[in-house]
């Protein structure tokens, strides 16, 4: 019996004018299957069929056949399928049910009515598999993103699923967190668990994959023989990495800045100068101070010591979860809002259209932004924040959840913005973005900001 068998599978979300899945044929019987494809192509939807979230949680119209370990997905509810299929979501912060790690990992076991005597052994086993034994007594709120994602995986593995479905699990993780999570998935696979993973960051997963499938417009095709992966991502970004521009008047100067919160200094004695026309990439592990640096430059966080000098002009700031900013009925009105309030020369149709074109969002201009796919929402938020040519743009993980095409488009938009004289600072785990778009790279590490003169090669 195949673990997963889809035949002519079709699906449309409630009220949607188009099908999210079309005539999908897929069989999984071993190893790891990678799902790639642009944002909005249907990868997440396909994953959610595996455990019945589609159609039972999301509703909609499903057609064709979908069997998971011999169970008809359309007739078996998610709660039942959860015994066989473990699902890990993209956002580490929105999967924790309990405040403490140990309790959270046991949540699924409680729902399965596993006897208490057996639970502890299974929690131990799952934490060990994910390399998270040291986190057992910790509060979930104190964990890094990578640690939270491993705890989420442990919570799923404790239920001993036969198939793991992972929806862009690496998108919010730094390099070390991503490696640790992939190692945990590999350990689970060594025990016989199958896996199907939707991801844009393919470098770490591709060596483990038996098959690579591409999802495009809701249709599935086998692309195991193609060179998908970081090379394509890198070339899509093109380019020549920006050369450092000739000195322009400095937009921002930090003098001896200590940043953080009283009693918790994250960065100490930072001296940094940012000039118009520069694109500065800030790299560093989670918790090293990238976001703190951006917020201090933006003026959202007062320095604990030292001073920050900024020239006049609008500051655009993209937070780590920028889609939370979206609140207008259409994307067009969202961009108009920024242009109207931000003093960017008015909210004329030309300015709005130009912004939409910059981010490849013309086709969704009249749609409600929060109904867009994850990647489209990310681009929509970027467009909303960057509209009107700000003098200083601070972007915190802007390529999170983005496919290669969208990331490339962002890179070009950033370069165009810098060409207008703006200073752009990007906090990012995206090695390719830093390499191909930035004119300078600085690293936050051990409380300091250090200039990087040479970018290390991207991991193979």
């Amino acid at each position: 019996m195949d673990a997963l068998s889809f035949a002519q599978l079709g699906y449309a979300y409630p009220g949607a004018g188009h099908r999210a899945l079309r005539d999908v044929d897929l069989t999984i019987d071993c190893g790891l299957t990678l799902l790639t494809g642009d944002s909005g192509s249907g990868k997440s939807t396909l994953l959610r069929v595996c455990n019945g979230l589609v159609p039972h949680f999301h509703g909609g119209v499903i057609s064709g056949r979908a069997l998971v370990f011999g169970q008809d997905v359309t007739r078996t509810n998610t709660r039942r399928l959860a015994r066989d299929v473990g699902f890990v979501f993209q956002d580490p912060e929105l999967q924790s049910v309990h405040a403490r790690v140990e309790r959270d990992v046991a949540f699924g076991l409680e729902n399965m009515r596993v006897p208490r005597g057996e639970m502890r052994a299974r929690v131990d086993e799952a934490l060990h598999l994910c390399g998270a034994e040291a986190l057992r007594e910790r509060s979930v709120a104190t964990l890094s993103g990578g640690e939270r994602q491993r705890v989420a995986l442990a919570g799923v593995l404790a239920m001993r699923p036969r198939l793991l479905a992972l929806d862009e699990p690496l998108s919010q993780l730094d390099e070390s967190g991503a490696r640790a999570l992939v190692a945990a998935v590999a350990a689970a696979m060594e025990r016989g668990t199958l896996a199907v993973v939707a991801e844009h960051r393919l470098a770490l997963l591709r060596p483990l994959a038996q098959r690579v499938m591409e999802v495009s417009g809701g249709r599935l095709s086998d692309s195991s023989d193609s060179d998908a992966g970081p090379a394509m991502h890198a070339t899509a970004l093109t380019g020549r990495p920006g050369e450092r521009p000739s000195p322009n008047h400095a937009h921002v100067r930090l003098h001896g800045v200590a940043a953080g919160h009283p009693g918790a200094v994250v960065l100490a004695s930072v001296d940094l100068e940012l000039s118009g026309g520069e694109v500065v990439a800030v790299i560093g592990n989670n918790g090293s101070g990238k976001t703190t640096l951006l917020r201090t430059i933006a003026g959202l966080l007062a320095p604990l010591q030292g001073r920050v000098e900024r020239t006049a002009g609008r500051v655009a700031y993209l937070p780590q979860n920028p889609t939370t900013l979206l609140h207008r009925r259409t994307l067009r009105s969202e961009i108009e809002w920024t242009l109207r309030h931000g003093g960017g020369g008015g909210a004329g149709a030309d300015a709005v259209d130009a912004t939409l074109a910059d981010f490849g969002l013309e086709h969704v201009a009249e749609r409600y932004p929060r109904d867009l796919s994850t990647g489209e929402r990310q681009r929509a938020a970027l467009a909303a924040v960057l509209a009107g040519s700000p003098a200083l743009a601070l972007l915190d993980e802007p390529t999170r959840g983005m496919d290669a095409t969208a990331a490339a488009r962002l890179g070009r938009a950033v370069q165009r913005l810098a060409a207008t004289g703006a200073a752009v600072v990007i906090a990012t785990h995206d090695h390719d973005l830093a390499t191909h778009v930035a004119t300078r790279v600085v690293e936050t590490r051990d409380g300091a900001v250090q200039e990087q003169t040479v970018m290390a090669a991207a991991p193979a």
Binding site: R80, G86, L325
Partner: protein, 275 residues
């Protein structure tokens, strides 16, 4: 301590604090509660926020009572009568009345403070009876979401400000309030999806941990509830009358049995430390 024992204790202390306006009994309840928090508070506990909250609430109650009660014999000052609400005499008796009211609020707040400062809120939710278990789990999950939402609200406000948002009028606030609410709703849906994907809603559940039940916890719960019952019975019988400082401040009557009921609340502070 067992969260159910703490809940029973808090219920008893609150019942006593709100059923009487005699400052002696209120003070004893407040002191017993403070002692319990100091003796059994969760590791890493910071008392300052609680004390500030209690002090502010009590001070507001005191000042409001002082300014709005115009009866009493010993007058400090006379506010012109045409001043709305506070016009009239400010008296020593109204000051005492205000202080007693403030003490009542402080005692009530301190009586329920152990529910969050001694007990783990999640253990408390887990201790709910089976017919409330699903509601409790939903509340516990919501508690988990609150810090995330608070950060999200701050991020949204900051980012909208940099987009040019300036809250000059009430109608400007939806530009922050709407995305905060939408984000909260979406986060809840995502969390619900995650819970369902882990089998939530399958029916009765087993429990990974149960709070230890120790004879001392049982003693605390039973004694507190009996003490509250006895106090209320004394009130009903007239043995513990109301006390008012008007028109002159009378002596404070203290019923030994009622006082003993209040002093029973010190019991959890005296037991062995099992932290």
């Amino acid at each position: 301590m067992n969260p159910r024992a703490i809940a029973a204790w808090s219920l008893a202390a609150l019942a006593i604090a709100v059923s009487t306006n005699n400052p002696v009994y209120r003070a004893v309840v407040a002191l017993c509660a403070l002692n319990l928090i100091l003796a059994r508070g969760r590791p890493g506990l910071r008392l300052r926020p609680l004390l500030v909250t209690v002090a502010v609430a009590a001070a507001i109650a005191t000042v409001v009572s002082l300014l709005l009660s115009h009866t009493g014999t010993h007058r400090f000052i006379e506010v012109p009568g045409d001043v709305p609400l506070i016009g009239g005499a400010i008296t020593l008796e109204s000051l005492v009345f205000g202080l007693v009211t403030g003490l009542g609020i402080a005692a009530a707040l301190l009586a329920v403070a152990p529910l969050t400062l001694v007990a783990d809120p999640y253990d408390l939710v887990d201790a709910l009876p089976p017919f409330l278990a699903r509601t409790g789990a939903a509340i516990g999950t919501a508690l988990n979401l609150i810090p995330t939402m608070a950060r999200s609200a701050a991020d949204i406000r900051d980012a909208q400000r940099l987009r040019g948002w300036r809250p000059r009028r009430v109608r400007d606030w939806p530009d922050v309030a709407v995305p905060v609410v939408l984000t909260a709703v979406e986060s809840s849906i995502t969390l619900a999806e995650a819970m369902e994907a882990r089998g939530w809603g399958s029916g009765p559940r087993t429990h990974y941990l149960t709070a230890p039940r120790w004879w001392f916890d049982v003693a605390v719960a039973v004694s507190a509830l009996l003490a509250a019952a006895a106090f209320l019975a004394l009130r009903a019988s007239g043995a513990v009358p109301d006390w008012y400082p008007f028109p002159v401040i009378p002596p404070l009557p203290v019923n030994p049995a009622a006082l003993a009921c209040c002093l029973v609340l010190i019991l959890p502070s005296l037991g062995p430390d099992t932290r």
